[in-house]
Symmetry: C2
Subunit: 523 residues, 2 copies
């Protein structure tokens, strides 16, 4: 076998470690990497037409598979375009092997036009950054990045690949490195938390991260029910198993006053794989921390610790088990049919959720970038078939369409339903094209209210009567976006729904046909 | 007058300094800034539906007006979305007052979901970064940022505005600070360069930046003609006056072999407001510097020096003046009519340029993100009516549609014609909506070749016979993008042209109607 170049050693190292999917938006400095992906079979390359799609897809792919995909980005500015969705991935604790091609090492000092501070951009979103120094180190650097990406519960790990380290010969395939697993929780911590739960004081379990899998959530629910504690989830779960037979748990409300109210009277707060609850934004005269000042916080498990095992141990310690039907979540009762309504009827979020619950197939994947309209979705979907719910973790809007791409590729055979605010959708439209090219089973519902509704609420909170300038900065009409045309232009068939009855018809039809579909729901 | 808050002091400081345009994509942490813009008249707010549009528009606005606009971006991830076009603005040396709302100062340590390393992101693209510490400093910080943005020839200056510094009272309007002007070139330098030009050795003037205005370019042309020197422009001019009565100058070719050939045999290279010529990317076995190893480089003027005055002084020193008709550029001869061709005829870039030259109105503004198809445009447009040509300076694709927004707002009454590669257009589609909302006189011509043509050329350069994986990563068909639908979805009327005859008809029609129009030209 001829001596391999750095790019070939990279591809072999990825394949050896089981990284078999690359979301790519290549440029000139990545041509040798592209050529290596072409020559060496074993990696599925998914072309995305901008980098925000690459990053959002890789994020959701990890959430669904638990294993990292690689990206292929072009220089600092290409990484710039991916920053917002890498930020969301960082907040989701998703593992991504983020590969950024860059100027050749010896060309960088010449400051050619595309030269940028790639390292600084990478550090802003990555837990691990390495720049290959030569073709000989590419394999080892890639192995280190893969291990970092896999470190429990998952991290963004960036490998910067200068062009000459890809094309020079001397590449060496590196063996897969072990990745850090979940750290165990000490038995003493279990005892401490058990005692708190038995103290009779108002106590809440706040659950996040890896503890939001189906089994630990049921364990937490039983513990809470058994001890009289409250239970709440972090505000924006990366992935939450929901529906029938899953724990019917709510999450921290987004509006600050509701967020504070959710923790009112709590004397003991127990954190499970999540941080202290804080408000999404600061507001004048309101606290940043949502819990009472005299509330005592105890950590059952940090995000990199084994919260699922800790919850199981805690349940055993408390004598709570699946064998006790009294501690099981109540049956949600029969699933209501779709909510009905004509074109003239306003559509409430709760009614929308009822239709969604009634029509979604088993094992659906819900991508939720519904923003303001989506706050009422949870109660009406507890009785739906089992499904996974993926949220906007970092608040950087524009994740929904890309995440639908990554979820569909990571979980073939399961239907993806993307609940997508119109304003947010405008940031990453190109993802629709990848949905069409890859024939992904994605139904996107554009919640078309033709405004930045969340900001109108925030502006009202500022107190002033908004004038024309302010209102126009929150208004997406004039002209109205025509989502059927936008989708059609990308190769995604689409239809407009006015009213719940039309939504029900179109949603049911889309779920029965393969490939992507978009419904523009006029709110 | 009641005590003002920080946001109000910011708006008053901007207005006092003559900053009267804000390209905005606001979020919650900017609500008090939005409210202040609403209450205090004097600033035009242009809503953009993603931040890459904000940044690209502000860049082109500066190129056309010579004065900075402000931006309004939302937190670190919003700044992330703007990085690529801020990178282009940095390379264009455009002045931008880049305002980024962020977490309240006391909320940042709580690491709420949208918290990111805003400062690191800002530094990666800015010559000046300041974060307001309190409402009392916002005015002074803004004045410093405005002065930095205006420093000759222009810079990206970022003001980070934590939410509490906007809403707290105690804001103080700051007086406008003087901005650094162009530094003078020493007379000894003029003498040195005059001697070089008289030495008889093969000499080239390489012109860039602020020296690319109409008068200094004509002076440079006359100097070159008079002394036998060659003359060339930097590769991607931020703004180049072209057409009849302007100097018919070419720019550094993009392909590395042509770039090296352009400098072959040059013994003396004189730089005027630009840096040494280097290749856009490195290639194996090829030099990064385009000029011969024994070429002597002399700087007539650095980018922050007064190149126009230096060229005028040099012309006077050499006895070259407008009074000598022999040194004037040759008349380009009569303007040919549009090139013709039916649907079955292939469209050469030169023929396209001939039609463009024949049909463009006087004082048109050409936005050139034509990428590979655009390399043959210059020779056939020398005889066109006077116009300005704005290029992709930093190589971060996705600038064209946003730049058309900013150029049209900066130069009302002039027609903008955007020559737009299809692949690049996908990065910033949302700019079409702003073109429609603001009823901007922009004709966009999508050069639809349905591939990343530039990358196919680069891949061929790598040497291998590309296989299916590589070819699919450069292929924008399957499905074909339907640009008429995409534009229509954003409120921009559109038509498809197959062949030059249809292009001519549609281009002429679009130039005679107000507002935006998009032509999908099938190549």
């Amino acid at each position: 076998m001829a001596e391999m170049n750095g790019a070939e050693s990279l591809v072999h190292t990825l394949i050896a470690a089981g990284v078999d999917t690359v979301f790519a938006n290549p440029g000139t400095s990545e041509m040798h990497f592209v050529a290596a992906l072409d020559r060496i079979p074993g990696i599925r390359c998914v072309l995305c037409l901008d980098e925000s799609v690459v990053a959002g897809a890789a994020d959701a792919y990890y959430r669904m598979t638990g294993k990292p995909a690689a990206t292929l980005l072009h220089c600092g500015p290409g990484l710039g375009n991916a920053i917002s969705n890498l930020h969301n991935a960082r907040r989701a604790r998703s593992g991504i092997v983020n590969i950024v091609g860059d100027q050749a090492t010896y060309h960088r000092p010449l400051d050619a036009p595309l030269t940028a501070d790639t390292k600084a951009l990478a550090h802003s979103v990555s837990a691990f950054v390495v720049e290959a120094a030569s073709a000989a180190t590419v394999g080892a650097d890639a192995a280190a990045a893969i291990a970092a990406a896999r470190a429990f519960p998952g991290q963004v790990a960036t490998l910067i690949l200068p062009a000459d380290t890809a094309w020079d010969t001397g590449g060496m395939v590196a063996a897969t490195l072990p990745a850090a697993g979940a750290k165990p929780v000490a038995p003493a911590t279990i005892e401490t938390v058990a005692a708190l739960l038995g103290s009779g004081k108002p106590t809440m379990l706040l659950i996040g991260g890896a503890a939001m899998a189906a089994a630990p959530l049921l364990a937490a629910w039983r513990i809470a029910h058994h001890t009289g504690a409250k239970i709440l989830l972090e505000r924006s779960p990366a992935r939450l198993p929901r529906g029938r037979k899953r724990a019917p748990v709510e999450r921290i409300p987004y509006p600050i006053d509701q967020g504070i109210a959710a923790f009112a009277g709590i004397a003991q707060l127990i954190l499970v794989n999540t941080g202290e609850p804080v408000s999404f934004f600061a507001y004048p005269g309101k606290p940043g921390r949502l819990y009472p000042a005299d509330c005592v916080i105890t950590v059952l498990s940090l995000p990199d610790e084994d919260g699922p095992a800790a919850l199981a141990a805690l349940a055993a310690r408390l004598g709570v088990s699946e064998a006790r039907p009294a501690d099981a979540p109540p049956d949600p009762g029969p699933l209501p049919g779709p909510a009905t309504g004509g074109a003239a009827d306003p559509i409430a979020p709760e009614a929308f959720a009822q239709s969604l619950a009634a029509l979604m197939p088993p094992d659906a994947i819900i991508i939720d970038e519904a923003i303001s309209f989506g706050r009422g979705f949870f109660p009406r979907t507890h009785a739906a078939p089992p499904h996974d719910w993926l949220m906007l973790t970092g608040g950087a809007i524009g994740a929904g369409i890309p995440m639908a791409v990554g979820a569909a590729i990571g979980a073939p055979g399961r239907r993806v339903i993307a609940l997508q605010a119109d304003g947010s959708a405008m940031y990453s439209l190109a993802g629709l094209w990848t949905q069409a090219r890859e024939a992904l089973d994605v139904t996107t519902i554009i919640l078309s209210n033709r405004k930045y509704a969340i900001l109108l609420g925030e502006l009202a909170g500022v107190g002033a009567n908004p004038g024309r300038t302010a209102l126009e900065m929150m208004d997406l009409s004039n002209p109205d976006l025509d989502w059927c045309q936008i989708a059609g232009g990308m190769g995604v068939p689409a239809a407009r729904a006015t009213g719940l009855d039309e939504l029900n018809t179109q949603l049911a039809a889309s779920l029965n046909r393969p490939g992507p579909f978009l419904i523009e729901l006029i709110l």
